[in-house]
């Protein structure tokens, strides 16, 4: 692996990239992105958001309608996929069914005219890396989904690509295996120091694996940030909604002062919020509060914080957590998550409670 001397230089750059299939509408609208060497970046978004198209443009299977894609400082727009030297893991693995596992792995080495003994050594090493050393003679059809996944990963890595693209590689696995593989992929990527662009629509996967996550919607990156920042400080309603669980309350901005916005909810109540995406009074806003940041007991709230009256609609016991559904300011779907602690109250449906939160956790976003 190359040294990380140029860590802060952009390794992969999208510069004002646009993509249209029909000449009428854009699938990718003005994409700008740059990632340093060794980063694990995830493109997250609902289907049709343009994330896979971006990946395909990077791999060379789609051409950008406008803009430049640069790899290590040079534009690769006109370089055919087989000369880009980018490893890729496909959603359905795309293991060649007529070849054995070892032959699959040897394929990229063969087309690079690497000698037989070196080839075999590399194949062996790659298989061992994914703990598939004993499976070289099998056909892909004789492997389980997880095993195929490992082989596909090994194949993308065997020719020592510096950049590896993964298109929903774990989508076909069951939950437990998926979680295990997330860890594996992360570990291998770190060990090899490779740069990874990872596409998924699973936010947990994105949050657990990535250095940074690019949230896609409607052909644009809505937010590009490390997982914690993405969760804690979503920049707009879409991101807030898409990442993690989220309660929303609609209202009107009354006043913005001292880094605090006063929002009048639709039922007339006033609350203090953190003005993230609102700039002036009179704007409609959607207020976002994470379910685990809602408090029932006054003593845990900041002094002077607004409280709202809520009616308990449902109480769900979830083992480690309690999940309480409330009606708050006309929203019947206001969820509060509380840890199953010894002194935690278990609310009965029908009860009326006061709820509150830190104003910094209550984010006024675009409506």
């Amino acid at each position: 692996m190359k040294s990380k001397t140029s860590e802060n230089d952009a390794f992969v750059t999208f510069d004002r990239v646009q993509k249209s299939y029909d000449g009428l509408s854009l699938v990718v609208k003005d994409l700008n992105l740059s990632m340093p060497r060794g980063e694990f970046l995830t493109m997250l978004g609902p289907s049709g958001s343009g994330k896979t198209t971006c990946l395909m443009m990077l791999a060379g299977f789609e051409t950008a309608t406008h803009g430049d894609i640069m790899l290590d400082g040079t534009s690769i727009n006109n370089i055919p996929p087989h000369k880009r030297g980018i490893g890729m893991v496909f959603q359905n693995y795309a293991l060649f069914p007529h070849m054995t596992v070892a032959e699959n792995l040897a394929f990229p080495l063969e087309v690079r005219k690497i000698g037989k003994s070196e080839r075999e050594a590399k194949v062996k090493r790659a298989l061992e890396m994914v703990q598939m050393g004993d499976f070289g003679g099998r056909r892909p059809a004789q492997l389980s989904g997880g095993q195929q996944q490992r082989v596909a990963l090994a194949r993308a890595l065997v020719f020592e690509a510096e950049l590896v693209l993964m298109d929903e590689p774990l989508g076909a696995l069951d939950k437990q295996l998926r979680e295990h593989m997330q860890f594996e992929i992360k570990r291998i990527a770190e060990n090899l120091g490779i740069t990874v662009v990872y596409v998924t629509h699973d936010q947990t996967e994105a949050l657990t694996m990535s250095d940074r996550v690019a949230v896609f919607n409607d052909g644009r990156i809505q937010q590009l940030a490390p997982p914690a920042e993405l969760y804690e400080s979503p920049q707009n309603s879409f991101v807030a909604q898409f990442i993690g669980e989220n309660n929303t309350l609609d209202g009107l901005v009354k006043e913005i002062s001292n880094g605090m916005a006063l929002v009048q909810l639709d039922d007339g109540k006033m609350i203090n919020c953190n003005p993230v995406n609102v700039t002036k009074a009179g704007e409609r806003t959607r207020v976002s509060i994470r379910p685990e940041r809602v408090e029932f007991s006054k003593d845990r709230m900041e002094p002077g914080a607004h409280t709202l009256t809520a009616e308990v609609l449902e109480f769900i016991y979830m083992g480690d957590m309690f999940r309480t559904r409330l009606r708050v300011a006309g929203n019947d779907n206001f969820i509060v998550k509380t840890r199953n602690a010894p002194n935690q109250v278990q609310l009965e449906p029908g009860a009326h409670v006061e709820i509150g939160w830190l104003p910094s956790d209550c984010r006024a976003l675009d409506a």
Binding site: G60, P81, H82, G87, A94, F96, P108
Partner: protein, 424 residues
């Protein structure tokens, strides 16, 4: 376990042996399944197995001589054909009786025709003789040796008697011998005279030309199947209609259209002459020969190649090619190492279909094949429709069937029939 008897066999809850109970339950399902397929089963039996059985039987059946000339056949048993001497009067007398009875029932032509397959001239010999024999009085007109020889000098030659004796058995391998250019003689099988050896050559020609047609179909059909599998739906549907169009046109119309295209004053020659690529006097001969047969049959059989190829290619996901390219393969390598091997089952299925169909084809070669472009099936048709030599036709058909089965078996051994895919 409480539900077992003393032998340890499993029992059901009410004490029945589990095996019997299962069999009863399954039998009902089996009977229902059998009833559902029974119309097809009966149909196949009547229209497929029975005719094939009847064909196999006809290829060895040989009752005509024994049936029409019974006394002669019995009498000839005592005659040694290898002695080179004519039979004695008793045999001539037996024959005179037989031929007279045959002449009255007008069945003499059948035996004449039968022997004519073996010895040219027998048909006229029997016709001429029967005309005389009708007038004889079997009691008073003896001896018949002179009378028969007088009726036709053929009866004075030992050869006709040897032929009669050789082909008097009720079952014969003679038709199969004929089918491979041999014939049954009193000294055992031997090759036909050189000028009657045509069938082996025809078999060879049939196989070679069918192979060429199959190769032509692969070459032309592969790109089309690829387009069908990879074009956007709307375009591929249109293309599919074009591929299927020939199916909706009469075979004769299609073949005749090729006549118009390929003949010397035809469309292709006209175009070549107009372009100055061919001299007016040097117009190409593209029909009534092997070329014409190959072109017309390739066209007719092409859909049978394209459809299985298409259905296999449809299942090859485009990501395989993308994967190959991302691994560093050029377009060609990606195709040749990754796509092509996966499409081979389709080629195999298409080839089997086209090859088997083409070695049994006869209408198209008949119309555009001239003399040199006809197949063994045209000979079979000739023997069924014209010469009435159904025994030989059946033997040829049986051999053709055997060739198909052997090829099928060989394919199974080499490629594996499980690899043949006609659909997803």
């Amino acid at each position: 376990m409480s539900y077992t008897n003393e032998d340890g066999a499993m029992l059901t809850a009410d004490g029945q042996p589990l095996k019997r109970s299962l069999a009863t339950a399954l039998r009902r399902q089996k009977i229902r399944a059998l009833l559902l397929i029974s119309p097809l089963l009966i149909f196949v039996l009547i229209t497929f197995l029975f005719p094939i059985g009847s064909m196999l039987f006809r290829s060895v059946e040989n009752h005509i001589v024994a049936e029409i000339l019974p006394d002669t056949v019995v009498a000839l048993a005592t005659w040694d054909g290898k002695s080179g001497e004519l039979p004695d009067e008793s045999i001539y007398a037996a024959f005179a009786g037989d031929i007279q009875r045959a002449a009255i029932t007008k069945s003499h032509t059948r035996v004449g025709l039968r022997l004519n397959y073996e010895k040219s001239g027998s048909a006229s010999l029997f016709k001429k003789t029967a005309r005389q024999a009708k007038k004889w009085d079997l009691e008073t007109d003896a001896p018949f040796k002179e009378k028969l020889i007088a009726a036709h000098k053929g009866w004075g030659e030992v050869e006709i008697w040897q032929t009669l004796k050789t082909h008097s058995s009720r079952y014969t391998a003679g038709y199969f011998l004929n089918a491979v250019d041999m014939r049954k003689t009193q000294d055992g099988p031997e090759f036909q005279p050189e000028n009657r050896q045509i069938l082996i050559k025809l078999f060879q020609r049939t196989l070679i030309m069918s192979l060429l047609i199959t190769l032509a179909c692969i070459t032309l059909g592969y790109p089309v199947a690829w387009l069908l599998a990879n074009l956007p739906r709307r375009q591929s549907n249109l293309l599919m209609i074009l591929v299927l169009l020939p199916f909706w046109t009469s075979l004769l119309v299609r073949t005749s259209a090729w006549k118009v295209m390929l003949q010397q004053q035809g469309v292709i020659n006209d175009i070549l002459v107009a372009l100055g690529m061919v001299e007016e006097t040097g117009r190409l001969i593209m029909i009534n020969n092997q070329f014409g047969t190959i072109v017309a049959m390739t066209h007719i059989l092409l859909p049978f190649m394209i459809l299985p190829m298409y259905s296999v290619m449809q299942t090859i996901q485009p990501t395989y090619l993308q994967a190959a390219k991302s691994l560093g393969a050029t377009n060609w390598t990606a195709f040749w190492r990754v796509y092509f091997p996966q499409s081979v089952p389709g080629i195999g299925a298409g080839s089997i279909l086209v090859f088997i169909l083409s070695i049994g084809y006869y209408i198209t070669p008949e119309i555009v094949g001239g003399n040199k472009g006809v197949f063994i099936s045209n000979r079979i048709a000739y023997h069924i429709f014209q010469s009435m030599n159904w025994g030989l036709a059946a033997a040829l058909g049986t051999i053709l069937l055997a060739i198909v089965l052997i090829l099928y078996w060989a394919y199974d051994k080499v490629v594996g029939i499980d690899n043949v895919k006609l659909g997803g």
